[in-house]
């Protein structure tokens, strides 16, 4: 089951301070849905302002990105640039 880490402190207000979870999901979209079910509001927070690092590679706005059972998933703030 993929393990999800909430890297920044900002979104922990939705989780009561918890920062690591195991989530039954094989895509980013399913992970978001599952996290929102457990922590209402977190799904929208991820959708609007967070990127997902899967095994070190950053995905933004990528519902279909695949998660493997042993994937390292880190939620970080979205990235822009200049």
């Amino acid at each position: 089951m993929p393990r999800v880490v909430l890297a920044g402190v900002a979104a922990r207000r939705f989780t009561g301070g918890q920062s690591e979870f195991e989530v039954e999901a094989d895509t980013v979209r399913r992970m978001i849905v599952e996290l929102d079910r457990r922590f209402p509001g977190l799904g929208q927070q991820i959708d609007e302002s967070m990127a997902v690092a899967i095994d070190g590679e950053i995905f933004q706005d990528a519902y279909m990105a695949q998660l493997n059972p042993d994937s390292e998933i880190v939620l970080i703030p979205k990235i822009g640039g200049g």
């Binding site: 900002a10 990528a62 970080i76 703030p77 200049g82």
Partner: protein, 763 residues
């Protein structure tokens, strides 16, 4: 399909002339200010002379009565927009704030904030009319400095701004918009483990992107609500979306045409003039053109954030860094949204440190709202960290490069912000620095050498591209991203490589919003990566179609056709014996074989590889004047795969140049009323060619496996190391650590005076 075998590439990796080069050299290229329309009016924006004031009234009667004036707009002409957070453009955005930034409502929040605008039959009349608009202000106390703005008794800009990211939610509004934090390991254990600790404070100044072309646009709004916008920006789709949102217009009713862009660097990822010109055009019923003066660019548009960076490092005596704390307080300008998140994530990203604690604050004050600038936020935190690393090396009596080598992040290192690095080329940049001839060059009196490193994420995102085969066998590549850094050339090169035809036979076009699918703006060094991926895929689809057409002509199966060097060949003896068919021959018969040959691809590109860099800088300090001369500069960077090496080198050299300006001279000077004192290039000193030596660019190529040609973004990270590289070189030259930017001659002189005995009159 991937094309990572460099030896097999014929076009990618070469240095052809850019397709838009002649136009730009001879002045034929059309920039934002070049557009003219029949019946066009001239717009002018009236701006606040106060840093912070309540608008009591705005009287426009006298302006409207001036002959030639056709329309005046104020905030009353813009729809009220609820506070709505979204991540669009190049960072977090609140559309209400964007609307208020384009036209002040209720209060002005900085010197230069727009309060009204006029459209008239000539620029002179428009200017005269702005003087006739009477604005009654109630001047309020203001605050410029980031730490002053954080004080409990500071003048508060927004009475509905409550600090996010703290628990419990504050009961009182403040200028601290957000607190962010990242942690790794056990910081208390890290400090116990450390044998030596060092704690320092550094400051950076907000600096402008200093693009040569001021903001400019022409907008024509018809009675049927359909609008056309010509403007210079980093994204025509961004202009369309923001104008639609701010004016309450359906996106389909706006067509945004991209002009050539004379520099952006992140500063043109927002709108300032377009919504105002659109409101004026709707009101006047005629096209409206607005061009900012340089003074308006400085007073009214967003600089990069500046701030305060506090760094604490703990290390073992052998140089292993075991603990790090980073505190970043960043200026957001008048509205929330500084790049404090990336600043926090980037500062320590180059190193493998087991115990880390990072905290950042996003702080508003009475300055223009910040905008993106190459690698937003990273230069600030990295100036602090990379200066402090050098100070630690001094304490450890260790070569600064060696200290970085010992602690460098590698594949498998867990970054302080969470992810585990994969496929990064940081160590390779350190190795290239070690191997470069730069380190062995002798230094003279008052000369010093500094090293610094840096990191930036790079991004992908949504891109559309089309490849059309023309009747004569040439190809047109259509993309939706303004060409800032030579991306027309890189798009044409990738398409030519896949099609197997000469680069000169591919013509790239940057299309308007009605002529190509949505493309996220040009920024974050994403275009060669993401749009290049779309172009490559479109070209591959065209090749599939070309093989089908050849198969039809030969009356064989498409599977029995191979495409090599721009020609179709039978796949083997069993396929039949046919003379090869060139792309040109197939194109000539396209009408008979099924019609035009073209393909459009729309993607959301993921997997932009991270950018790492190591820079070496040599300086000479004039002890008499405090002037710092850059003697040599070498920028080493993991670029993935250089599609057009000259433009990659150009990005590296440009980023370094801007970083040197940030290091040595650039700053906003405010008077005690909060008015900007230096809104022009005479008093805001950017580096010019004569200030700098040739900057040597060394490209390290660690190909990105997620891109068909291995490309990584290259335009962000080059601005990250220079401030610390220069500061470290100055410290090496004169033994004085400069911790506050800019390290300008007056500051150097004052620092030298503090370290030297007073000179005797006889000397």
């Amino acid at each position: 399909m991937t094309y990572l075998d460099k030896a097999s590439l014929k076009i990618v990796g070469t240095r052809p002339i850019r397709p838009d080069g002649v136009d730009k050299v001879i002045g034929r290229a059309n920039f934002g200010a070049d557009m003219v329309m029949p019946g066009m009016l001239w717009g002018k924006v009236k701006r606040s002379p106060h840093a912070h004031a309540r608008i009591k009234s705005i009287k426009i009667d006298k302006a409207l009565a001036l002959p030639g004036v056709k329309a005046v707009v104020t905030a009353a002409d813009f729809p009220m927009i609820p506070s709505e957070e979204a991540f669009v453009g190049e960072g977090p955005m609140n559309f209400r704030d964007l609307s208020y930034n384009c036209m002040a409502r209720g209060k002005v929040l900085y010197d230069g904030h727009a309060v009204a605008a006029v459209a008239a039959t000539s620029p002179a009349i428009a200017e005269e009319a702005t003087d006739l608009i009477e604005v009654e202000y109630e001047v309020l106390p203001h605050v410029i400095d980031v730490e002053d703005a954080m004080k409990p008794d500071a003048p508060v800009l927004h009475d509905d701004l409550f600090t996010q990211g703290v628990d419990p939610k504050p009961a009182k509004a403040s200028n601290i918009a957000k607190r962010v934090g990242f942690a790794k390991g056990d910081i208390a254990a890290g400090w116990k483990e450390a044998e030596i600790t060092i704690e320092r404070r550094y400051t950076t100044q907000p600096v402008h992107q200093a693009y040569i072309e001021p903001h400019a646009c022409v907008v024509s709004a018809g009675n049927d609500d359909q609008c056309t916008i010509w403007s210079s920006s980093q994204g025509q789709f961004m202009v369309r979306a923001y104008c639609a949102k701010l004016l309450g217009i359906d996106i389909a009713n706006i067509r945004a045409m991209p002009a050539e862009i004379g520099g952006g660097f992140g500063g043109k990822t927002l709108v300032y003039l377009e919504p105002v010109a659109l409101a004026l055009s709707k009101k006047a019923g005629r096209p409206v053109k607005i061009v900012m003066s340089r003074e308006e660019v400085f007073r009214g548009t967003g600089p990069a954030a500046g701030g305060v960076i506090e760094v604490k490092l703990g290390a073992k005596k052998d140089g292993r860094i075991v603990a790090a704390e980073l505190l970043v307080k960043l200026q957001a300008g008048a509205f929330p949204g500084s790049p404090v998140g990336p600043a926090c994530m980037c500062g320590l990203a180059m190193y493998d440190i087991p115990h880390v604690n990072i905290v950042g604050y996003d702080v508003v004050s009475n300055r223009p709202k910040v905008a993106a600038y190459r690698a937003p936020g990273a230069p600030n935190s990295t100036f602090g960290v990379e200066s402090c690393i050098d100070e630690l090396a001094l304490e450890l009596k260790m070569e600064p490069l060696r200290l970085r080598e010992i602690n460098a992040a590698k594949d498998g290192t867990k970054a302080a912000h969470g992810p585990t690095w994969a496929n990064i080329g940081f160590s390779q940049t350190l190795e290239a620095a070690r191997a470069s001839g730069h380190l062995s060059r002798p230094l003279g009196p008052n000369q010093g050498r500094g090293i610094a490193t840096g990191f930036w994420f790079n991004i992908g995102g949504e891109s559309s591209a089309a490849v059309h085969i023309n009747e004569d066998g040439t190809a047109t590549v259509v993309e939706g991203n303004p060409d800032i850094g030579g991306t027309r050339a890189s798009m044409a090169m990738m398409a030519a490589e896949v099609l197997g035809i000469a680069y000169e036979r591919v013509r790239p076009v940057v299309a308007d919003t009605a002529s190509i699918g949505f493309s996220f703006l040009t920024g974050g060094s994403r275009v060669t990566f993401a749009t290049g991926m779309a172009v490559t895929q479109a070209a591959e689809k065209v090749v599939v179609e070309l093989k089908k057409r050849a198969a039809m002509i030969w009356d064989i199966s498409p599977d029995a056709v191979e495409w090599t060097d721009g020609k179709a060949y039978p796949a083997g003896p069993n396929a039949g014996s046919f003379e090869p068919l060139s792309l040109q021959e197939i194109a000539l018969k396209s009408g008979r074989t099924g019609g035009p040959i073209s393909a459009e691809v729309a993607i959301n590109a993921q997997g932009a590889g991270p950018g790492f860099a190591t820079h070496i800088c040599d300086v000479e300090v004039d002890r008499e004047t405090g002037h710092v001369k850059i003697l040599r500069y070498t920028a080493i960077q993991d670029v993935g795969r250089a599609i057009h090496p000259s433009y990659v080198e150009g990005q590296m050299q440009g980023g370094v140049t801007q970083g040197i300006g940030w290091a040595l001279n650039e700053e906003y000077v405010y008077d005690k009323e909060g008015r900007l004192d230096n809104p022009g290039f005479l008093d805001y000193r950017v580096p010019v060619a004569s200030d700098l030596p040739m900057i040597e660019a060394i490209m390290v190529e660690v190909p990105n496996p997620r891109h068909p040609f291995g490309a990584k973004g290259v335009g962000e990270v080059p601005i990250v190391p220079p401030m610390a590289a220069v500061a470290n070189a100055i410290a090496d030259a004169i033994g004085i650590r400069m911790r506050d930017l800019p390290m300008s001659p007056p500051k150097l002189r004052a620092a030298l005076d503090g370290h030297e005995p007073p000179r005797l009159a006889a000397e």
